[in-house]
């Protein structure tokens, strides 16, 4: 059986969605998110596997924005730039949350590559 015939429906789109999620965190923040939004809107009737990964990456990217940008801005505003503890908290917070999101993205991408659905823990949306 040729490998392409064994691929579950929507796997390609699922892999693209997870790759864009990682690109949004690592390479092209914002730009990759625009691509996720575009795919998420365009493929509303995609196969369940693709739709699951699109839903995850769209909503978790939104959460990522809140957790990384909004929360870090709040820490900096509340603590002030001239207080050493602001930097202790914000650097450790950002590093931990960012790398956790990246690792979850890696798990998501590996699931997509294996043709499986994946729900991000705590902040992911249930798949239909």
């Amino acid at each position: 059986m040729p490998p392409s015939a064994a691929k579950p429906a929507g796997q390609g789109l699922a892999v693209i969605a997870e790759t864009l999620f990682l690109a949004n965190l690592l390479l092209a923040p914002g730009l990759a998110f625009v691509a996720i939004v575009w795919l998420w809107r365009k493929h509303r009737d995609a196969a369940p596997l693709a739709r699951c990964h699109l839903e995850q990456t769209f909503f978790v990217s939104l959460w990522g924005g809140v957790l990384l940008v909004v929360a870090c801005a709040a820490i900096l505003l509340l603590g002030g730039l001239d207080w050493e503890w602001t930097w202790v908290v914000v650097i450790i917070y950002f590093t931990c949350v960012h790398s956790t999101l990246v690792l979850l993205g890696v798990v998501g991408l590996s699931k997509a590559l294996a043709g499986k659905a994946y729900v991000y823990p705590l902040i992911g949306r249930r798949c239909a």
Binding site: E84, W85, W87, V88, I91, I92, T95, C96, S99, V102, L103, V106, V107, L109, S110, K111, L113, A114, K116
Partner: protein, 457 residues
Amino acid sequence: MQYKSQAVARLYFIAAIGLFVAQILFGLIMGLQYVVGDFLFPAIPFNVARMVHTNALIVWLLMGFMGAAYYMVPEESETELFSPKLAVLMFWVFLAAAALTVLGYLLVPYAGLAKMTGNDLLPTMGREFLEQPLPTKVGIVVVALVFLFNITMTVLKGKKTAISLVLLLGLWGLALFFLFSFYNPDNVVKDKFYWWWVVHLWVEGVWELILGAILAFVLIKVTGVDREVIEKWLYVIVTLTLITGIIGTGHHYYWIGTPEYWQWWGSIFSALEPIPFFAMTLFAFNMVNRRRREHPNKAATLWALGTGVMSFLGAGVWGFLHTLAPVNFYTHGTQITAAHGHMAFYGAYVMVVLTMISYAMPILRGRAANPGKAQVAEMWAFWLMTVSIVFITLFLTAAGILQIWLQRVAATPMSFMDAQDQVALFYWMREWAGVVFLTGLVVYITSFFVKGETAKA
């Protein structure tokens, strides 16, 4: 086990675990000395505890790599080891050299040890991680060459696979770069320049090849995924490692007196160094998700996945944190480096050796996997050690950020020792996390003695 000669690996694994215990005990001693300066002084001064802590780590990892190679190569090459007797002989030589060196560190003042061991003939001692006396260094070369001869001859007489060739490349590179430990020029810039050829080109170069080969071997066994798929990943990882890691050495050349262009080369290439670790994490998870069999050794699979995750965090993320020259200008030589060092060594090399031991030891003991209860204990050990190293890293990172602010950013900068007093709370927390790590190690060793029903290998 498939080949009788694989049994020699067992000796190496047992000695590796023994030295691992020594490393952690001396780590705890020096961790306490950070906050109780005269603890065990003058019996074990801080510099001696540090030397034993780091040297024991290097030696037990080398023991682990050798054990892994002796286990893997016969199976990969589909033939018995060229000379099992030579492997056993070299084990005892290596162990005796390691024991004598540690005794020398503990019983003789370092300057006296240098005099006793002929350092005036060829001065090589006194440099971080390469503190070993000349005879020990010569011994390491002899053991490494005999080991490589044995392994290479086995590969040459048997089947050649991508895994065994990548492993050989890594091991030969390891031996080759160690030769720079004998080059100790008077010029301090040149000294540091070539010193990194051992230290950096080991851990961010050839050791990564060994790591990739061991991980690939174990993943083939526990997942049943086609060798071709795993080998393709291995090629990608090797390429990424060499492209980023070799010129990435430049991140050590920022402030040692080398030309300024190293700040660009070092920053650019070492910023790419997380990529092979990222690939390794994706590789491990991808293979486990595509597995074709449920291997009874769940603990080995957990260690393999853990290696991917923790090496990415420790070597990749925490390495990137302070690798760009403008950032490193502030972070250089602070506790940020210690944070990175702890998690990277644990995540990449400690975990991959424990992955191999976890997979191979039950087979060497005549069963496919350890009994369920033993595996549960081993998985507890995994979590205790892994979570505690995460906390050690976080506490050291916090200490490092505070240290940088107080010592290098504040309008009225503190002296080094005054800043150390201010971060003492984090050192205490690091010490307690270290105690949890030791508990995990004790549970790990206990797991070898838990009995129960097992399936035959």
